[in-house]
C-alpha cells in the first residue's frame, strides 16, 4: 500500500525502459537483415559493374562480408554500443561522424518544428476548448483541418515564395550553425520548421481541444469549483493536467513524422541534414550509411516516446496502472 515517491518514479522510468530494450533490439535486427537481403555489395560501388568475381570476392572479404550472417550481425551490434556505425562503402568515412553533423541540422529543424507544434497546437486547442461550441471553436477547427491536409512540400514552396522571394524577409535556403548566433540560425530554420510543423500543430490542437472539453465536464471540476477555487487555477491544475494526455500521446506519435518529413523539407530548403544523406546513401546502395540512419532514427523515436511516457505517468498517476 505504501508507495514512496521514489518507487513511483522508478516504475515510470523502468516500465518504458523494459519497452525500449526489445524495440531497440528488434529494430536494429530488422535494419541489419534488410541491408543483408538487399544483396548490395561494396565491390560494385568501388569496382564498377565490370568487376571480375575474384576482385569482388577480395573486396567482400576485406569488408568481412564473407562471414556467416550471425557473426556479422553480432559484430555490427557490438560496434553500435561503441557508437561505431561502420564505414561508408562509398567513401570510407565513418558513418557515425558524418551522421552526427547531419543529425544536428535535422534535429534543429525537427526541434523548432516541435516547439512550434506544441506552442501553436496548445494555444489553438486551449482557445477552442475555452470558447467551446462558439464561432471561435469552429474557426479553429476549420483552420486546423485545412493545415493538416497541406503537405510539407507545398507549404515549403509557398513559404519560400512568400517570405523569401516576394517579401525578402528570410533566407530561402541553407543552414548556419548555432555558434554563428541564434538569430541567423533561427532565420534559416524557421521556414522549414513551419512547413514541417503544420501536421503536428493540427493534431495537437484537435486532441487538446477534445481532451479539455471532455475533462471540463468531469465531476472533479465541479468539485474544484464548489471548493471555491478560481477559474484560472481550475484550468491549469485540474482541467489541463487531466485533459492533456491524448495531446501528449499524439506528440509522441508525431515525432517520427517530423524526422521522416525532413527528407522532403531538407531537399526544398537546401539543408544537408540526414534526410538528404539517407536518400543519397539509399540511391548509391551504401548499406552501412542507410543502416546508420535507421539505427539513429529508432533510438531517437523510442527515446522521445520514453520521455512522453514518463511525463504522462507523472501527470496522471492513475494512468500508470493500466498496461
Amino acid at each position: 500500500m505504501r508507495r514512496s515517491r521514489g518507487r513511483r518514479l522508478a516504475v515510470s522510468i523502468g516500465k518504458p525502459l523494459a519497452v525500449f530494450v526489445p524495440v531497440f533490439l528488434l529494430g536494429t535486427f530488422f535494419t541489419f537483415l534488410l541491408g543483408h537481403l538487399s544483396g548490395r555489395s561494396p565491390a560494385y560501388i568501388q569496382l564498377g559493374d565490370a568487376a571480375t568475381p575474384e576482385a569482388v570476392a577480395a573486396v567482400e572479404h576485406e569488408w568481412g562480408l564473407d562471414r556467416p550472417f550471425g557473426v556479422q550481425y553480432v559484430d555490427w551490434l557490438g560496434d553500435i554500443f561503441r557508437f561505431d556505425l561502420g564505414e561508408s562503402w562509398f567513401n570510407g568515412h565513418s558513418v557515425a561522424e558524418v551522421l552526427l553533423d547531419r543529425a544536428v541540422i535535422t534535429l534543429s529543424a525537427a526541434g523548432v518544428a516541435l516547439v512550434i507544434g506544441v506552442v501553436a497546437g496548445f494555444a489553438l486547442g486551449a482557445l477552442a476548448a475555452r470558447f467551446h461550441a462558439t464561432w471561435v471553436d469552429r474557426a479553429v477547427t476549420g483552420f486546423t483541418t485545412t493545415i493538416s491536409v497541406l503537405p510539407p512540400f507545398v507549404v515549403g514552396i509557398a513559404l519560400v515564395a512568400v517570405f523569401a522571394v516576394s517579401l525578402d524577409l528570410l533566407p530561402a535556403a541553407g543552414y548556419v550553425p548555432i555558434e554563428a548566433g541564434l538569430g541567423p540560425w533561427l532565420s534559416h530554420l524557421i521556414l522549414p520548421a513551419i512547413a514541417l510543423s503544420f501536421d503536428t500543430v493540427a493534431d495537437v490542437a484537435r486532441q487538446l481541444r477534445d481532451g479539455l472539453v471532455s475533462t471540463k465536464r468531469e465531476n472533479y471540476v465541479t468539485g474544484a469549483l464548489v471548493r471555491g477555487l478560481g477559474p484560472r487555477r481550475i484550468f491549469f491544475v485540474h482541467v489541463l493536467r487531466n485533459g492533456v494526455g491524448p495531446a501528449l500521446a499524439v506528440l509522441g506519435l508525431k515525432f517520427p513524422a517530423l524526422l521522416g518529413g525532413a527528407v522532403v523539407t531538407e531537399a526544398i530548403f537546401g539543408l544537408s541534414g540526414y534526410g538528404v544523406f539517407a536518400t543519397q546513401a539509399a540511391i548509391r546502395g551504401d548499406v552501412p550509411a542507410v543502416q546508420g540512419v535507421l539505427v539513429v532514427s529508432v533510438v531517437l523515436v523510442v527515446l522521445f516516446n520514453l520521455v512522453v511516457n514518463v511525463v504522462l505517468n507523472r501527470l496522471a498517476p492513475a494512468a500508470a496502472r493500466g498496461v
Binding site: N219, G223, R227, L229, G230, P231, R233, N242
Partner: protein, 299 residues
Amino acid sequence: MTQAPVVTPAAETVAETHPEDVLVLEDVRIHDDLSDTELVHGVSLRLRRGQVVGIVGESGSGKSLTCRAVLGILPELIEVSGGSITLLGRDAATLTRRDWTALRGAAIGAVFQDPASYLNPSITVGKQLQEVLRVRGGLSRKDAHRRAVELFDSVHLRDPEQVYRQYVHELSGGMLQRVLIAIAISLDPDILIADEATTALDATVQAEILDLLAELTERLGLALVLVSHDLAVVAQLCDEVLVLRDGHVVEQGPTARILHDPQEAYTRLLVAEHEQYGLERYLGTTADAVLPTEELNRV
C-alpha cells in the same frame, strides 16, 4: 435531534432579515431554457446555524437542481427564473462570478454522491485539501499540510498522514466521502450541502457518515441541507423536512410531524413504502419506526 434554533421574540416579527438565517429560499423557480420548461416550481426554506433541513424526493424531483442553484453551479441553459436565494444576507441573483468564488468554500460547502468522481484523480487527496487551505485559507505550504492532516483526523480517517499521500484510486468510497467532507469544512463554512452524500455507500458506512455529519453540525454550528431519496436518512438527522415531487413541494414541516402524521398522499406513500420494505417490518418492530434512528443519532 440537533440543537433547536434560537428564536428571540423580536426576531419573529422581522423574519425577513433574521441574523440567524444563513440560507433563505423564497419561492425559487428553476427553468430549462433549452426545452422551455419549468423544472422546479417554487421552493421556500429557511435555515439557521446548527439547524438541519432535509429534502426528500425521488430522482428527477428537483432536489439536486435546488442544491446546485444554491451553490451557483446550475448546468448551462438552466437558470433560476423566479423567487430569490439569500446566502448570509446576500441576494444570490446579484452575485458576480468573483463573488461566487469567494463565497464557495468559505460560506457554503458541498459533498455529493459518488465521492470518487469529485476528486482529481491525478493529485493526492491531501494535496487537494492543502490546495484549498493554501489558496483560499492563505496558509503556508507547511501550515496547510499540518492543518490538512488535522482535518483528516477530525473526520475520523485512520492514519491521516498516510491518507494525505494517497490518490483517489487507492481509497474506498467511505474514506473518500470523509475526505470530501474534510475539504468542504476546511474553510469553516456556514452552510454544508450533502446531496445524496451517503447514497452510494453501504449501510454501515452510510451510518458512520451520517454520524459524522451530525457531529460536525453540532460541533461547528453548521447549517446542514441533507438531500436524500431515503426517508430513513432524513429522519435520523433533520429538524425539518421538505418533500419534493416533480419540482413541486408536496409537504414541508418538522420531521416528526411529517413522518408520524403525513398530510399528503405522496408523503404517506413514501412512509408506507418504508414501513413495507424497511428492515423494521422484518424485525417486527414497526410500532415506532423513528425509535431506532434516534438511538443511532446518540451514538
